[in-house]
Structures are given as C-alpha cells and as structure tokens.
Symmetry: D2
Subunit: 381 residues, 4 copies
C-alpha cells in the first residue's frame, strides 16, 4: 500500500465520522500509522477550521479548500459538504488532479451529476461515493451469495430506510429540509443509501413509480421561533421499481418512521432462497435456503442469522467477533478507495454509480408529480 | 345468548377450521355446549358430505345446500366455498332469511359484491365477513389504542401479507390460481386480509396506485403433468394507497415471499406513537410511545411488546396466558357474529365492509393495468 | 382407531383446556366425531359438576368420581385435580381397570409416585402424564434431530421456565402456594415441565444441586384480606444437574420472572450443533449447524428458525401453516395416548417417566436444604 | 482535561483494541488530538515492539516495559498482558508512581489481587480494570434506572456469557487454556465480565455455589499436532450466587456455547420492573415496567427496547444514532479513567472492585471442588 494523504473538506457530523475512520484504518488492516494521513481540513470559516484541525491533530485547518487542493501531499479529497456544494469542489479537485471520495447523494440532480462524471473522467481521477452501508460485512456476504446463485431467480425485493428524526413538528428548518441546499428530502438523504444497496446486490434500475409527500408542511425557522416557513422537500417517499430486466420491487423511505432509530432494511426473495438485513441489527445477515428439505415435520427450512458481524475479508481487525459499529463500515469503505488508488484499480461505487442513483431519485420525483411510471432514460439516467 | 344453529356450506381446509372453532366457543366463553350447533354441512358431492358430517358429528351431510337453507333450525349459514360460488349461495340464503357469515374475499368483483349487499339489505339479515385477523387480541388492542388517540396524527402505514406457498414452479394449477374461480390472486387471497386490517384500524380508503405481477406465468395442469397452462392471476401486488383523508401508505402482498410462513404485518406511524403487529408472532402488539422522554442517555423511548397474547375482553378462556393460535381468532370472529344475532345488534365487518375491500382490490387491478392512481369512486366503491 | 370414552376428573382451568382439546381431535386427525367421547365430568360439588357437564355437553356431571370409574363406556380417566388428590384417584382408577391420563406433576413426592406406578403396573393399565410441551411440533422435531445425531456430543443444556404470575405481593394464598395441596411451588408447577423436556430430549438425570427460595414469604389469606399467612413452597428454583452420563446443565424456574408471560425455554449445545426453543414463540425451532462452513467472510454458520409451526407428523390439521396454540399441543398429547390405547402400544411419557421427574424434584429440594449435590438414587429415583 | 500520556504494555488482540480506542477519544468527546498520547508500547520482543509502534505511530517500541515506566511523559500505563504477568507490571508501575489501567481479570488469584491493591494504595495511584461492558450506553442506562428505583426490590438476576470459541476439539492449546498463564478458564475470561456487570448493577456478592467443568479434556499442543496435553482450566462454569443481602441469582459461562457469537446477557427481575441486555444486540436495553396497567385486554405491560444505542451522557460522538460497536465501549471506559486522573476523582471499577470479582471467582472454584456454598469471606474477599 502507498502512503496516502487526504484532505477533509467539510467537518460536520459526517466529516468527524470520516476522520475517526481514517484514524482506525491502520489498526484494522495491519498497516503503519502513516499509511493514511489527514493532511488538512477545510470548513466554512477559520475558527471552525482551527477547531477541527485541533481535534483531528492535523496541521492545516483552513476556510479555503483550494489551499488543500493545491497541497502536493494530498492524494485525494474527501468531500463531506452539504449537497449543493459538491459540484464545485469536485470539479475543482478533478482539475487539480486529486482523486475524490464524496458523500452521498452525489449531486443535487442528474444534470450536476453528469457534469461531475464528465469532469472526473476528463481528469482521469478515481472516485468513490460514500455508500458505506454496502461495506457492512453482512452486505459483502450478501453480494457473494447472490453472485454465487444462492437466491436463484429474483422474484422481488424490498428496501426500507426509516428514521424518526423529524417527527417533532417543532424541530426547526435546517439545510436537510431545504431543497436549495439538499436537493431533496428523505429520498435524497436516506433513499440514496437503500437504493444503492439494491443496485449493488441486484443491478441497474429501469423505471420507477413513486409517491412523495411532505408530512409536516411548515416548520419554525429556528428552534423556539414562532415564524414558520414551508418545507419544500419530501418527508416520505414510496416507490415501486423495475430493474432493467423488469424485476419488480418496492422502497419505502421516511423521516417520520416513528420508532425507527435507523431501520435500513433490504430483502431479496428468489426461487432458490431469500435474504434480509437491517443495519440496525448489523451483526447478522439472514438467509433462507429453499433447497433445504420441507416436510410436514422433518424439514430444515428457515431463516438463518449468519454471524457476519465484523468479519471482513482479509482484515486484521482485532474485534472480528464483536459488533463492529457504524464507523467501522466507513473505515472499510475508505480502505477500499485507498486500495484502488494504491494499486491503480477501479474504485466502486464510483461517480457513475452515484449518477445512476441520482437518476432513480430524479425519476421518482417526476413520477410522483405526474402519477405515472417514469423510465430512467427519461431523466438522462 | 340465544342458542343458534349454523349450516356449514363448503368444507375444505377453511371449512374445517370454522368447524373446530364453533366446537371451541362454549369453552372459551363459558356457554352451554348447545349454544352453537352445527346443524349440517353441504359440500359438492354426497360422499364428501357424509365424510364431513361424520367428522363434525352433525346429522346432515348433503350435496344440496338448499336443504340446509330450508332447515328451520339453521339460524345462519357459514359460506366457505370458493369465491365464484359465494354470490349464488349468499343471495339464496338471504332470500331464505338466514343470517350469513362468509369467508373473504366477499366476491369476485365489485358488481357481485354490490348485488350481495343489496340482497342482504333487502332481506334484513345480518352479515359478517371472516376477516379473522381483526380478532387477534393484539389487533383488538391496537384498535382500542388508536381510538384512544395513542398514535395521534397518522403519518403513514404499511401492510404486508407474504407467504411462500407458490415459490415452487412445479406446483400445479388450482382454483386459487384460476381467475374464473378465485376472481384474483395473491391480492384477493392475502391482500383482502391486510387491507381489511388497515381499514379496521384507520378507516376508509380513497385511492390506489398498484402494480400487480404474475411471477410464474404458467404451471402444470396437475401435479407431475408436463402440460402447462397460463396462470391468469397475480402472484404479487404492490400498492400505494391514500385514505379518504389523504393519508399515504403502502401494501405489499405476495405468494412468492420466499421464507415467509405467514407474515401478516401491519404498521402505523404517527406523531404521538407507532404500532406494529405480525400474525406470525401473534402474542404481542408492539407499541412505541413518542410521549416518553428522549434524552441522550436518560430516555425511555422504545418499542414495547405488549403481552396481548390470548387476552380477549370478557372471555373466559382457560388459556389466556398461552399462545391462542389461528383457530382461536376464528372462534372470536364467530362469537362476535353470534352475539350480534343473539342481541340483534350490528355485526362487523359486514358485507358493506367487504364491498369496500372489494373496491380497493378492483381499483388496484385497474391501476396496475393503467399505470396511474385510481379512485375508489371510479370502480363503484 | 377404537372409539374411546374419557372421564374428566377435575374441571378447573386445565380441565377446561383438556375438554377443548378432546373436542378438536377429530378435526386435527381426520377422525369421526365419536372417536373420542367425554362420558362425564367429576368435580368437587354437584353444582359445579352440572355446570361443567353443560359446558362440555356430556351427560354425567357428578361430585363422585367413582361413578365415572364404574361407567362401562369410560376407557380412560383424565385427572386434572390438584396434586394432593392424584394418588387416590389414580389408584382407584387403576383398580377399576381404567387407563389413566394425569396432569403433571404426577404426585406430591416420590413415595406417592412409586405407589402410583406400582398400582398401574399391577393393574396393567396404560398411563400418560400431561407433559404437553413435548408435543409442540418444534419439540418433536428437536427429538428427531437429536436422535439423528444433529447435536453430536452434548456439551451442556439449559432449561428455563419463568412466569410472572406471582410478582404481586397482594395476590392471596391459593392451592398452588400451599405445600399440603400442591406438594411444591414453582419447581413442581413449572419445573416439572422443563425438566421433562430435557429428559425427553437428552435422557435420564443422575444428580442435582439446587437452591430454592421463597421470595414473598407471606401473603393474604384471601384477596383484600389483611390476615397474612406464610407461603410454604418455593417461588424460585435454581438447579445444576448432571445426566446419568455426567453431562452438566442448568435449570432456572421462577414464578417471579417479572415480564415473562410464559418463557419455557430449552437449549442444547453440542460439538456438532445446537438448538433452542421457547414455548412463548412456538412456531419455530432454532437450530445451529456447526458443520456449516465458517470463514472470515464466506461462512454460513448461524441459528436458523425452522418453520415447525403446526406441522405434526401425519396430522390432517387444516391449519398447519398457522400458529397452532397451546390447546393444540394438548390435543396431540391426548391423541398419542388414544393411539397407545387403541393399538395397545406403550404410551409416553408414562408414570415411570413421571416418577423420574418427581425424583429430580425431590432431589432438588433435598439439595437445597443440605447445600450439596444429591443423587437421584438417594431419593428413590 | 489534562493532556495525558499512556504506555501500552502488551499488544495482542486486546492491546490493539485499546490503541484504536485511544485514537478515537478526541473525536467522541470533542477534545484536541493531543489530549491522549500513546507514548510507547512494550511487547515481549523487539521485533513485535517495533511493528506495534509502527502501527500505532508512536515513538517507542520496546521489549522492556520498564523503559516506559521510567518515561516522564507517561501518566498511566495500560496493561494488556496475559494474566500471569499483571502483578509484576502493576506493582512496578505503582512504585513508579504511574496510574494503572489493567485488563480483566485483575489477577491470577485473590492473593495476587490483594498484593496489587496494597501496592497501588500505598503508591496512591489511580486504577481501573477494563470491565468495558459496563460502558455500553445500555448498561449506563440500566444503572441509572436501578439507582432510580425502577426495578424495586430485586427478586433475582441472571448472567450469561457464552461464546463458541472452543467447540472445535482440534483447536490447540494456548495461553487461555493454560492455568499457569491464565489463572482460570471461561470463568476468568468471560465470567469476570458478567460477574462485574451484576456487581455494578446490584452490589456486592456474599456467597457462591458453582460447578466448573472441562468439556474437552485434552487438546493438541499446536495446530495439526498429534501430541495432546491436558486442558487444566474450565470450559464451563455454572454458578448460583447470593448477594450480600441474600438475593439469589445465577450465572452461566461457557466457551462451548455452540452458536453463541458473543452472548453477554444480564437480566434483573424485581417487583416493580425488570431489565435485560445482550451485548450481541447492544443498541437496546430492554425494560419492563410492572407499574404499567395489566388488564385482560387493555393493558400496556411488556418489554420495551429502549434505544440506548450510542447515547453516552455528555459525549459529542457524531454517531449517536448508529450502532457504536465494541471499540466504542473501550473508548468510554478509557475516557472515564482519563477524567478521573485529570480531575483527581475516584476511578471505577478500580482494583478493589477487581479484587471483589477475583474473590467471587476463587469462591466459585472452591465451591466446585467441595460441592458446597462458599462465602467470599472464606477466600479473603
């Protein structure tokens, strides 16, 4: 492995998660501590940048991310900015010849995502989108099983991503509730993850029939304020989808899934078997083998909770039989990108993958407006 | 309670379930054994009728159900025939002045259901549809809680009914796979139950957007046969629905839900709380109270598995702290109908309720054909 | 199958459960209704006996059980009396040449149980103890698997039977809390079941180390009374046991298992596999196959919930894919006894088996008093 | 917070876990990166020490831990050595005036633990034992609830720690299977954790009745070797315990818990409520409130899965609604020790606590040998 330098651009909650994960990589993969170095961090103002740099223990904390793009020891940037700021940073990083690791969703819309794909292809830099849920061991195992034919012909699939983060009507507006900054609501924030999981396991989408709704239509402009403004993004998105080969499935995405802490669920049903996973219960992949005998009493069919837990392929983690946690999935996601850079191999999921998910989401929005099935080709996907 | 006589019309699997349940009623409700008497049973031929009568221990086993309609000691009939035979029997029973207990779905289509409703209203007989899932204690408790405001404003809901009964492509055609006999596929057989649960808990539906699919398009005409014929009903039905008041929700119904034994699930999400139930895990109703404190560490929010188990209101069942089972839910459903007859009170769910569910299903079929939202009013609902 | 007549002796809660189960047998096994006839019921006084007979729909309701023992159409008696009344009835029934089906625990102590075994052996009548939990399909499947070598060498086992039926200190004294009537507390009432499960699956016990405790030491003599009397039976019993071959395991039995509705749990751990079951979740037997591959990522090991549900071997129940419930397990238990009588084959678990469990319980009591391991041979087991 | 330097002594699997956790602390608590500095690492030979130092990114990697004890920037040592090496290092560290963080179990036996306690008390240094399971948010919340009276009077408790790490008889001998190095088997390795959990929540133990067993009595001396040597430690330990106030409970500890990945379970039953937790399912604490109404149908009693997840009191972790993982619990455990040092406050669980657990384990061993209850006072506890 080459020693790599990364520049963190954006340091909110998810930026801090990324920083922890980089710190953990040497231990999980048996690498020297300097295999991955956070060269600097850029935030929106000098004070927060200094505070971020102190917490990280890196030299540079700057309000001008271009300073980091110009730094010779930065091999790749890690973009943790709000969605409306991705495009500019990504295009600048590509032009600076930096590889790019970018939080999901990739862009505000398909047009932006297409411009970003063009820019990185022209620059010849590697890209990866932080679809970290793919990188739970259970999902890695699911991919193996599906590729090995465990499921057989897919009958249908279901994805859910429910959180209850916005059930309180007095919770004020924020960037995630503003279309101008986020590009979309629950569909973008949560839906992008669960759509990617299905895409990862089952392949490309072909068409979408969706209904989006804003359940709390206006909120205070700030905590405790009596001034209300409309919410212009979706709180809930229900989707029926067909893969390119026509296979039917459904998705349900909500920020008002009362009681759901972090229910990120995927299920696949096939003629040979089935599988299901919930990121809230990450230690196990549940699989059902329809090849097992089924007799009135003597059968062996049933869902089996495979102990995937922290079992990464080839990893040297010292905690492989203990619950790995959310941050561990980010470390694996980052490490795969580092390997791609180091060995000059393709990274995945890359920006073209990110564009595909963007197209599914845009088709869903159009479908909801028009009350009909929309093909991905109609939105440039 | 009046002593009542019932005539069983149809004695396949579900007819036998009904018969057991009648036998159990005296014990569960502390009534004399002769509170409910199975006067006779009608099947399609004399031999099976005699065998049925012997198993039941009733005097009459006949291939002519009209014999039972004419019997003076028959207070109500219980129709367990295939769907295409409901209408004729029901109308004849109404004309004979018998009260009518009828398996779901009520009819082959909305037009039939409307005629049946007209006939029973004209005759002034009481009716009930066997939506037995309503009668699990957990669902009775859910109804109490919703009526008491536990959920608050409903954000959304979800229903699933998945079984894996048809995943084997060599399973031959049968009446459930034939539109001419069943009227519909998974949507009719399983969907009617789960739609009724949502209707029971949340109220009337207004419109539907659905996609139906037949996953195994042809099957052997008989077990082991190499002659194949097309399946002309749905194996899977996905639905987005809006209640009359606009509340959005979803349903997923499949006979190809690989691994599902009997996953009949309802979830309701609201601003004050949430609830969920799975008939495969019938002992508990899970509820979440959003009024509970939520603090970084000191909170009390979480899903609670209320021990509803066999706890029927007012019942004298000796097994109230043990798992009641499927048959017990039928006994409760029947007992409520017996009470309605005995005390001359309204029964529920009656044929008008059955018609509503029929309309939702017909709207779903039309929506799937036309790829758009369909209002219930468009199909006569 | 011969047509059989049964006399119910005792008609409290469990007597009513037995009555329902007899009524259901014809339907579950495809038999004529008169295969099993409840000839009469005996209770402690004429009024309750008449009421019981009316609920059951049988001719005889008597306060003198000897009337039933003398009845020529009674093939077997079903003893549902409090424990202190078992011996007299059983010995009288044996002398009358009736087969005997008896609720658990068999007796008040080992001496009584020995006398009962002698009496029935002398009389040559068949006996069965109502260890109905054995008769859940999941436990039948567990027995098959163990007999087939699925578990391999048994490392250890664990049984729990927890209910929370007595956590309320204001709950008054009753026969179950009186040693003179019940013979013992939680150990007798709940422990007998779970000990039998282990015995059924794994074989005979050899020795016991136990601690019994009475957690609420006195209770009101009647509901609402301020007069208190001591509780002279155990509320909780903890046991370490060794099978005859030395295999170590544990049992925990409590009526103060706050929150437990009916947690009757058995687990077996072996070098080839493991299994576990909870009667509160009766639809599934969970099994783990240690022969499955275990790899860092590519493994398949995990607990599998086999869908045993209502799947009885050879049964014709119409509800085999639905939750069977508590009463169904009694029907199977009774039916096996009826088959033993009808085909003149050995019944199981018989009174000798019941005596073995009695010896384990008596050894546990002695161990608790003396603070040491007690061999079953020390108590006549 | 003071800036602190730590010396890692021992760098096997658990040493690496500790190292990751130190790295994460600044991010989880919003501290500067240099709040905690790993000054150096000591292992058993220079090569492994250099490799460890490279992975950690610290300056000193040494085979002589005394070098670190002499280092002025080392505020505390973190002892991750095999159990037989704890005493010497701890006493030397105390004499060097360093605070001491030490892996569990504290010592080889009570005598050693007593000497260690004396040494640290004489030196006036702070100590903490790595009972990290206490530091899951669910256990922190459990402690709050118990202290607030949620459980009421404790009826009983149960602890289990089952892993299936040694079910394969061909797994060779190692230090954990050698009494001379480990001091004990499953009881020491796993039992110390679960005993500490009960001690943390419920208070001091008074007496013990235990049975220990070695299930696989000899193993290969090395992988693949045909030379066998006896295993001289326990594989399984079953315990009945009484707290100082007499409250009865049980523990089951096994390395042959086939199918258990990491089942570390605690349950507490009381007259007002109950709680349960499994570290394999760390996101939730399950609680039952017996104050909730219980009615035939209208009740609200049931186990509630409180979403404790990553919710540490006062923490600034960016992942509080995602599964925190095993390493996170170590970070919290370390952070509490750092706070105790920094603010000169008592640390917990300290060596006196570790000694208490040591005494319980020694009493268990003696009890198993003698087949009787053993008081902690008999073993110097």
């Amino acid at each position: 492995m080459k020693k790599l330098g990364v520049a963190l651009i954006g340091y909110g909650g998810i930026g801090r998660v990324h920083a922890i994960a980089y710190r953990n990589i040497p231990f999980h993969y048996g690498l020297p501590a300097d295999s991955i170095r956070i060269v600097g961090v850029a935030t929106s103002n000098p004070d927060s940048a200094q505070k971020a740099a102190a917490e990280i223990g890196c030299e540079i904390g700057t309000a001008d991310y271009r300073e980091l793009l110009a730094h010779p020891e930065v091999d790749f940037i890690d973009c943790c900015l709000p969605n409306n700021l991705h495009e500019a940073v990504v295009i600048a990083a590509a032009q600076a010849g930096k590889h790019i690791y970018c939080e999901k969703p990739l862009a505000m819309n398909v047009a932006e995502a297409q411009r970003m794909v063009e820019a990185v292809e022209q620059a010849g830099v590697k890209t990866q989108v932080t679809f970290n849920v793919r990188f739970y061991p259970a999902m890695q195992r699911a991919k193996q099983l599906i590729d090995d034919g465990f499921i057989g012909r897919v009958f249908s699939y279901r994805g859910r991503y429910y959180r209850s983060s916005y059930i309180d009507a007095s919770k004020p507006l924020s960037w995630r509730l503003s279309r101008a900054v986020s590009g979309g609501g629950a569909l973008f924030d949560l839906g992008s993850h669960i759509l990617d999981l299905a895409y990862y396991l089952l392949g490309e989408f072909g068409s979408v029939q969706a209904t989006l709704d804003t359940l709390i239509k206006e909120r205070p402009v700030a905590a405790g304020s009596s001034e209300m403004q409309p919410v212009d993004v979706d709180d809930i998105a229900l989707m029926h989808t067909r893969l390119k080969d026509g296979t039917l499935g459904l998705f349900e995405i909500s920020r008002m899934g009362t009681g759901a802490t972090n229910d990120c669920i995927i299920e696949v049903f096939g003629d040979k078997g089935a599988l299901r996973f919930n990121a809230a219960d990450m230690n196990w992949l549940e699989v059902y083998d329809a090849r097992d005998p089924e007799k009135p009493l003597g059968g062996m069919r049933g869902f089996r909770k495979i102990e995937t837990i922290g079992r990464y392929d080839g990893a040297k983690s010292p905690d492989w039989s203990h619950t790995p946690g959310f941050i561990r999935s980010h470390a694996e996601c980052q490490y795969q990108f580092m390997k791609a850079i180091s060995h000059d191999k393709p990274a995945a999921p890359n920006f073209t993958d990110g564009l595909h998910i963007q197209a599914v989401m845009e088709a869903a929005e159009r479908s909801s407006e028009q009350g009909r099935w929309v093909k991905l080709s109609e939105v440039g996907g």
